[in-house]
């Protein structure tokens, strides 16, 4: 750990990538992630790595595909419409079991939408997006220090499971500044070699990286092996934070920027006697179904709050079933909910016991 510096989210994520041993970055300008690309253009060459401003997001993701196949830690970043363009390549990365870190600094949609923060890309991130039976680890930090830690973790998970990993933030986290103490950098030469990497068929049989298998039995077998890997990820890599849930009767489900705002709501609510807690998924896939299931047995309400029309709430409802009520509160179009705005929603589900002056 070094000194604490004040740094913007986009810059911090880029720096974390370089510190994780990433030595190639390929990107295309799109707001609100431009600073990430710009940081890489200045610092990646200094670290001895490759930087290319690609002709498009599609070009960038396939440069990552090639760079990953050649054995290096590689990264790209974009914002919502650009991630839509990358989805073909993400499917190919998954289909070839290639590690890659992709950052989505999400904005308002659909279509061109706007450049304000939003969480409308949850489905795209967690339910496939691209074609075929694949999954992608999705990490959703709520602060900039956490974004740096999770970016470094993203590279480890990508290499451990040979899979693309998405770091999902939004315009707020991309643009705001916070003090960050970075982890010590990883020396890429110390990372384990990848046996399948395209390094030249010297003293070994050739390596072929492909997702093309005409024989249905062969493709089925390869897909099933990948599904086994996904089951391992689900068993081992679920991450979440519980905040003030111990005695809670009502719990907010929120991730990223909204979870950060909701923490303030929890404090405000507790000041007026409402036993409010927060369950914050850190991995959106694998989703923390079990913690939500456990909570649903002892709380009355789980209120999902998102900057979307209601996407993660589907996973919350899947976990909770009918054991608790699962209302939803969302803001759209780049509107960011406020702590008091969320509190107003919370109050709708709180009953007051006038005799004892308690709420439950």
């Amino acid at each position: 750990m070094g000194e604490k510096i004040l740094i913007a989210g986009n810059d911090a994520i880029a720096e974390a990538g370089i510190r994780a041993g990433c030595r190639s970055y390929f990107g295309y300008p799109i707001t609100p992630q431009n600073e990430l690309l710009e940081y890489m253009s200045a610092h990646m060459p200094k670290a001895g790595g490759a930087f290319v401003q690609a002709e498009s997001e599609i070009g960038a993701i396939y440069m990552c595909y090639g760079a990953s196949a050649a054995g290096g830690r590689t990264m790209t970043s974009s914002s919502s419409p650009g991630i839509s363009l990358k989805l073909e390549g993400i499917s190919y990365l998954a289909g070839c079991d290639l590690p890659c870190v992709i950052v989505n600094v999400a904005r308002g949609g659909p279509g061109l939408g706007n450049i304000a923060p939003a969480q409308g890309d949850y489905f795209q991130a967690t339910k496939g997006g691209g074609h075929g039976d694949y999954r992608m680890v999705v990490l959703a930090p709520a602060t900039i220090p956490e974004a740096t830690e999770l970016t470094m973790l993203a590279f480890d998970l990508a290499d451990k499971y040979w899979t693309p990993v998405l770091v999902l933030v939004d315009g707020v986290l991309g643009q705001m500044m916070e003090p960050v103490e970075f982890c010590e950098p990883v020396d890429p030469t110390t990372l384990p070699l990848k046996p399948w990497a395209l390094t030249g068929a010297q003293g070994r049989p050739r390596n072929i990286v492909t997702s093309f298998f005409l024989d249905p039995h062969e493709l089925s077998e390869i897909n099933l092996k990948r599904q086994d890997r996904y089951r391992r990820i689900e068993a081992q890599e679920v991450r979440y934070e519980e905040f003030e849930t111990g005695d809670a009767t009502i719990v907010i489900a929120a991730y990223g920027t909204v979870a950060r705002i909701a923490k303030t709501t929890v404090k405000l609510a507790r000041n007026e006697g409402i036993k409010l807690g927060l369950l914050r998924p850190i991995t959106l896939w694998p989703f923390p179904y079990a913690p939500f299931r456990a909570l649903s047995n002892r709380v009355k309400t789980i209120l999902t709050v998102e900057m979307s029309a209601g996407q993660m709430v589907e996973d919350v409802r899947l976990a909770v079933a009918e054991r608790a009520e699962t209302p939803f509160y969302g803001e759209l179009g780049g509107i960011v909910p406020t702590p008091r705005g969320i509190l107003r929603e919370v109050r709708k589900y709180v009953s007051y016991d006038a005799e004892n002056g308690q709420s439950f």
Binding site: R23, S24, F26, A50, V52, A54, E55, S56, I58, G59, A60, Y62, M63, C64, Y65, G66, A67, S68, A69, A70, G71, G72, T74, E88, G89, Y92, C96, L198, T199, G200, A201, Q202, G203, R206, N207, I208, V209, T210, S211, F212
Partner: protein
């Protein structure tokens, strides 16, 4: 009377870099010939152990199977971006793409032009047979005016579908490429010229000179509904009028 032992000299053999796997191409198709020429060049330059093949989507989708080299499949059109990623991470590798006209000059136009414009130190082998062979003979960006294809049943109409795109000429007007050439295979002389062009393109990459494009006018007897001999004659008589042969750029 002394007995003379005739000395056997091997004058022809399978290139070492060509894998012993049957091609999936139709009889009379030029793809197999081009694959063999590339393998021969890889042997002659002694680069088999550091060459990476980037495959396309189309008839040559299995191209990486036929070389005793590392290989990677690319999505349709993206081969030049994939090659860029590989080469930037490991510049010691010799990276070439093998792409058809639909792959390189339609769906992959952006990736193909920008890799050329950045002067990526890669070799692009561009197979221009004016047709989408694998999907059953649809119109390509290079299909000749009036030429029949399954998606232009009245023949290509310039008013509806524009004109055959001359990709080598487009790339040749960029500043970065070191070698841009168009070759064909319709007779022995052209085959030898194509072999020399492919060797030069790889040689330039080995020497670190930069981007090369070798466009090859190839046939498709199946989708053209011609016998192989007829298809060669068609290239010699008609195709070369639209796609003139020869070097467009040689800055080596």
């Amino acid at each position: 009377m002394s007995v003379m032992t005739p000395k056997m000299v091997k004058v022809f053999e399978r290139p070492r870099s060509l894998a012993d796997i049957e091609f999936t191409y139709c009889p009379g198709c030029h793809h197999g010939l081009i694959t063999r020429i590339i393998a021969q060049v890889i042997d002659e330059l002694g680069i088999q152990e550091r060459t990476v093949v980037v495959g396309p989507v189309g008839c040559s989708v299995f191209v990486y199977q036929w070389f005793r080299c590392d290989g990677i499949q690319s999505a349709h059109g993206r081969a030049c971006a994939v090659a860029t990623g590989i080469k930037r991470v490991n510049p010691d590798l010799i990276v070439f793409t093998y792409q058809g006209d639909g792959d390189l000059a339609a769906i992959g136009t952006a990736e193909s032009i920008h890799a050329a414009n950045r002067g990526e130190n890669i070799t692009v082998i561009f197979i221009n047979n004016q047709i989408y062979g694998m999907t059953g003979g649809q119109m390509a960006p290079t299909t000749l005016i009036g030429q029949w294809a399954t998606s232009c049943p009245e023949g290509r109409d310039a008013g509806l579908a524009g004109y055959p795109i001359r990709f080598a000429e487009i790339v040749a007007q960029l500043d970065a490429p070191v070698y841009v050439t168009r070759q064909s295979l319709y007779d022995q002389k052209r085959i030898r010229a194509t072999s020399r062009a492919i060797k030069k393109a790889f040689q330039y990459q080995v020497e670190g000179k930069g981007y090369s494009l070798v466009e090859i006018l190839a046939n498709c007897p199946t989708s053209w509904h011609m016998k192989p001999v007829e298809s060669n004659r068609w290239i010699a008589d008609e195709v070369v009028k639209v796609f003139p042969l020869g070097d467009l750029v040689d800055r080596g």
